[in-house]
């Protein structure tokens, strides 16, 4: 029973934020009856399919999502707890696991902070001013989304590796970038680069510049204007960007795998440790770490849903 408790809690967390209507255990039939009881029944009849087809489409969608998306998630928790709760927690208390958790948190903290600062600056310059080449600049910011994670790691090997462009210089000065914290952080910053800027640019463009201009004309300084006027307006969008940035930073595998060197207890992040333990057939340990990352993903999704609602309430058009 305990094997799936983690997921069940997570699932209920997801449900907590669904409106009461969806939590009711109404049968599909009674709900349909409700839908047709609306005055616009004849109108909405034109816009829907016959009952059997509706049923098949819903069944296909639900089955597909259950088999391909929910089941893998359930497997993670089932495997993690397959030898009991004790084995689960002792797997997480292994020094190697603790080192990986620590490294992951550190790398995420550094890269999210840097991307937050630069994402805000990029959004300010792009959203609040007009200049030529804006679309091109946004395309460049988006680039990491379309680069394979492995290539994102490779480029730093080409720069900082022993045979890389800066390799000899770094060696001569005894500076370690690859197979160490700086390399892992750089690769993580690369893959998470667009998140904050992408969340803020449409939001800040939508809000225009009037409020800021008013503040400036009333004598506020640039920084005062940003912190007192702009920041309160963009706080939910900013959190949204940071949330997604953080999830990716903690979960990144391909790019980090290329630059990490897999030094046990030193340069293994949580996703890398999942791989190593899995390849050593230490399934409970591997899935225990994986379950932490899965919980991170679920929490991220719940908070994301809440933030999206906040953003919608702010009457800001949003691409979801």
């Amino acid at each position: 029973m305990s094997t799936q408790s983690g997921l069940v809690t997570a699932a209920t967390e997801l449900r907590v934020y669904a409106p009461a209507a969806d939590l009711s255990i109404a049968s599909p039939a009674s709900r349909d009856a409700g839908a047709h009881a609306r005055p616009l029944a004849s109108r909405s009849d034109l816009r829907t399919e016959p009952g059997p087809i509706r049923f098949v489409i819903i069944a296909l969608a639900v089955t597909f999502l259950s088999v391909f998306v929910v089941l893998p998630l359930v497997v993670v928790f089932a495997q993690a707890f397959s030898k009991g709760v004790g084995a689960y927690f002792s797997a997480l208390a292994e020094p190697e696991a603790l080192a990986a958790i620590q490294l992951t948190l550190l790398v995420a903290a550094i890269s999210v902070t840097l991307n937050l600062v630069f994402g805000v600056m990029a959004a300010w310059s792009i959203a609040k001013f007009d200049f030529r080449g804006k679309t091109f600049l946004i395309t460049l910011i988006d680039l990491p989304f379309s680069v394979s994670p492995v290539i994102s790691g490779l480029v730093f090997v080409l720069l900082f590796g022993a045979q890389g462009y800066f390799g000899p210089w770094l060696q001569a000065h005894d500076i370690q970038i690859l197979f160490a914290l700086p390399g892992i952080t750089l690769a993580t910053i690369f893959v998470t680069f667009p998140f904050v800027a992408r969340a803020l640019i449409p939001l800040m463009q939508e809000q225009g510049t009037q409020e800021e201009e008013a503040a400036i004309s009333l004598g506020a300084s640039g920084l005062q204007t940003f912190f007192r006027v702009t920041l309160p307006n963009i706080k939910w969008g900013l959190l949204y960007g940071v949330l997604l940035c953080n999830a990716r930073a903690m979960g990144e595998f391909g790019a980090v795998s290329v630059v990490s060197g897999h030094i046990r207890g030193e340069t293994n992040t949580m996703p890398l440790l999942v791989e190593i333990l899995y390849n050593e057939y230490q399934f409970v340990s591997s899935f225990a770490i994986a379950s932490l990352l899965a919980m991170l993903a679920l929490i991220t999704l719940v908070v994301k849903t809440v933030l999206e609602r906040r953003l919608d309430e702010g009457l800001v058009p949003h691409d979801h």
Binding site: A11, L14, R15, A18, P19, D22, A26, P28, R31, L46, R47, E49, P50, I57, I58, A61, V62, L65, L71, P72, L73, Q79, M121, A122, S125, F129, D130, F131, T139, I141, L143, S146, V147, S148, P149, V150, I151, L154, V155, F156, V157, L158, Q163, G164, Y165, T209, I216, T225, G251, F253, G254, P271, L272, V274, Y278, A290, A294, A297, T300, V302
Partner: protein, 278 residues
């Protein structure tokens, strides 16, 4: 450029923020990517061509692009069905399933990789019944295909969903009142309106699958020429210190993804021109 800026110049900080943005962009994205192309230019064209068309590279590229295309096709069909169910129908748990669509986005790829492998391995929950039917998924190209379907599904759903929500109901009501049956209305009136979004979702899912590493390598089996994806071959060449080989494969993949971005941008422009902006 400064004249263009002048229109909104009453706000401060353009020079500073733009300067820092460009610096940061260059340090993190542009210089590293430039290094990749610079490294490629160290090769003669014959060398580059030799690597790019060697049997193992060609097979890896074929596997990556071919299976990604097939997976994106499945995502296109299943994504449309899922969007339709989520947008047009009300059923218990609809909001939960709507949230579930994002799991492949949010779940770290390595976690997805080990979970899918465990699920489809010969003794796994789905692998065991499939094995009795004589179907082997894990450690075969089919496994790669399954993993690519998993990671691609949110792209189609999330691209098409807002377009279907915004679709003007009057168009299909008009079609229906003019005597079109439901089948005609859906396939001749509604789906054509979704084509740009569908193609964009398809391209995004395809691009993601081509570059995908973490969720694929566990379930792939990784047999050279059979189930070895291009990103894995890059990692293998790097571990053999064959940087030139790794770089050449990476450049081929990168050019392909640039082409996909270009196509997606065109598609979105096309979509904007087709439908009036609200």
């Amino acid at each position: 450029m400064s004249t263009a800026v002048a229109r909104r110049s009453s706000l401060p900080g353009f020079g500073l923020t733009m300067g820092l943005t460009l610096t940061w962009l260059s340090v993190i994205i542009l210089i590293p990517l430039a290094a990749l192309f610079l490294k490629t230019f160290e090769l003669s064209f014959d060398q580059f061509w030799g690597i790019a068309t060697s049997r193992r590279t060609l097979n890896a590229l074929k596997i990556s692009f071919g299976l990604s295309f097939a997976a994106a096709c499945v995502n296109l069909v299943m994504g449309t069905i899922i969007v339709w169910a989520l947008v047009r129908y009300r059923f218990p748990g609809r909001r939960l399933f709507d949230a579930i669509v994002d799991i492949p986005f949010a779940l770290p790829t390595a976690v997805a990789g080990v979970a899918l492998t465990q699920l489809f391995a010969q003794k796994g929950w789905l692998g065991a019944p499939l094995a009795e039917l004589g179907i082997k998924v894990a450690f075969t190209p089919t496994g790669i295909f399954i993993a690519m379907i998993f990671i691609g599904i949110p792209f189609v759903v999330r691209t098409v969903q807002p377009v279907l929500i915004d679709l003007d109901p009057e168009i299909e009501e008009a079609a229906a009142s003019l005597g079109a049956n439901r089948w005609h209305t859906v396939f001749r009136v509604i789906l054509p309106g979704l084509v740009p979004a569908l193609l964009t979702g398809f391209a995004l899912a395809f691009a993601r699958a081509v570059g995908e590493y973490g969720s694929v390598i566990f379930i792939a089996g990784n047999l050279p020429n059979v189930s070895e994806i291009a990103p894995l071959l890059i990692v293998i060449r790097l571990s053999e210190f064959r940087y030139a080989d790794a770089t050449a494969i990476a450049v081929v993949m990168l050019l392909a993804s640039f082409l996909i971005i270009f196509v997606v941008n065109r598609l979105q422009r096309w979509a904007q021109n087709r439908t009036p902006v609200h």
